[in-house]
Symmetry: C2
Subunit: 219 residues, 2 copies
């Protein structure tokens, strides 16, 4: 190969490294090469810098990954025109889900880290305000938020690494070990199509909002 020379150094623009650059390039690298590509050495190499240079901007790999989480969630646009509380919530968690699904490798990375980012406070505030409007008191509103965030992130996590990777996963499923093992309802439902992660998410959101609605009324 003629022009194939290893030129990894001198990738940085004129203005050197900083935390922002480290984080956004980590996201680029994760998106391109997968979560396992994010090592201190690999990221340093990608940035054309020695591994130890990173430690001037992140205090550890854990800090890097937490920073990545905040970086991602901080850039989500949660603005919404519709002021109806149900639509406000729907929009909020749709946006959150979209942002996560746009960077599955980064999400995988975050799942290895101990504490969720402070960024979760933004969707939390939005949800509490919306539920307040719906007439659901503070104590229950917090539980309502936990329901919504748990569902959304649980679904995302499932979508990213669960056994149902794509729409026609039914084939793969049937081939495994469920045949004749007493899973009749599963076998029946695996045949049908019209199922995908997004419509499943929308269904879940609607069911939750209907449940919250009813809860608000009967209070």
């Amino acid at each position: 190969m003629p022009g194939k020379v290893k030129t990894r150094r001198k990738r940085l623009g004129r203005e050197g490294l900083n935390r922002e650059r480290v984080l956004s390039e980590a996201l680029v690298l994760a998106d391109r090469e997968g979560p396992e590509a994010i090592t201190m050495r690999g990221l340093a190499d990608h940035l054309g810098v020695s591994p130890m240079a990173l430690y001037n901007h992140v205090s550890s790999k854990k800090d890097l990954v937490q920073g990545l989480a905040e970086h991602l969630v901080n850039h989500v646009d949660f603005s919404c025109d519709d002021s109806h509380w149900q639509e406000r919530i729907r929009s909020c968690f749709r946006r959150l889900r979209d942002a996560c699904l746009a960077h599955p490798s980064a999400i995988r990375l975050m799942e290895t880290v101990e504490v969720a980012p402070v960024s979760v406070f933004r969707p939390m505030e939005i949800t509490l305000a919306a539920l307040d409007k719906a007439g659901i008191g503070s104590a229950d509103a917090v539980k309502g938020y936990c329901l919504l965030i748990g569902f959304t992130m649980g679904q995302v996590s499932y979508e990213i690494r669960g056994p149902f990777r794509s729409f026609d996963a039914g084939e793969a499923l049937r081939r495994r070990r469920i045949a004749g093992a007493g899973f009749s309802h599963i076998e029946r439902s695996v045949a049908l199509d019209g199922w995908d992660f997004t419509s499943s998410f929308e269904f879940g959101l609607s069911v939750i909002l209907a449940g919250l609605q009813e809860f608000a009324l009967k209070k």
Copy 2:
């Protein structure tokens, strides 16, 4: 220290190693020392065996962790006397949650692995059967299952590593950076008590079941 001798070898009973033993001892070790203690070398040491001995019973670390996941879920008792569909579902996911919370380190480990265990088919079958009883058709029943499993595992994951580690986490929260940052609803709700993970889970389950009920009726 007088009687302090390193005796790690010869821990195995008379009947050597096997997959079951490797998996159950991995669970013991994870419970006792945390997820980061589960390395091929560390587990081998715990079993009094050379690292390479493990490869006769698991094909890789990934296989070990997936085996651990199946081992855990397979031992959950999903039996339930109550035949009402709502109670059937409630019991199923309560049991699943309890099993996960009993082994947080194992759950953390599983989150690092690519594919969820086949074991998820058991709660899935139970849920589909219950929703069938409720009059919810196959296509929607699968979505209902996704809602329930996503919520349950999302909550568990959040509980294990989220920012609200214990009940009085409000203190820790207030000390961080939310003060005066426009999070008025959060600040208000952080003051109240009577919130804990279990009651939050029960609230979520009830809201979902109410939503599914309503969905079944209006169909």
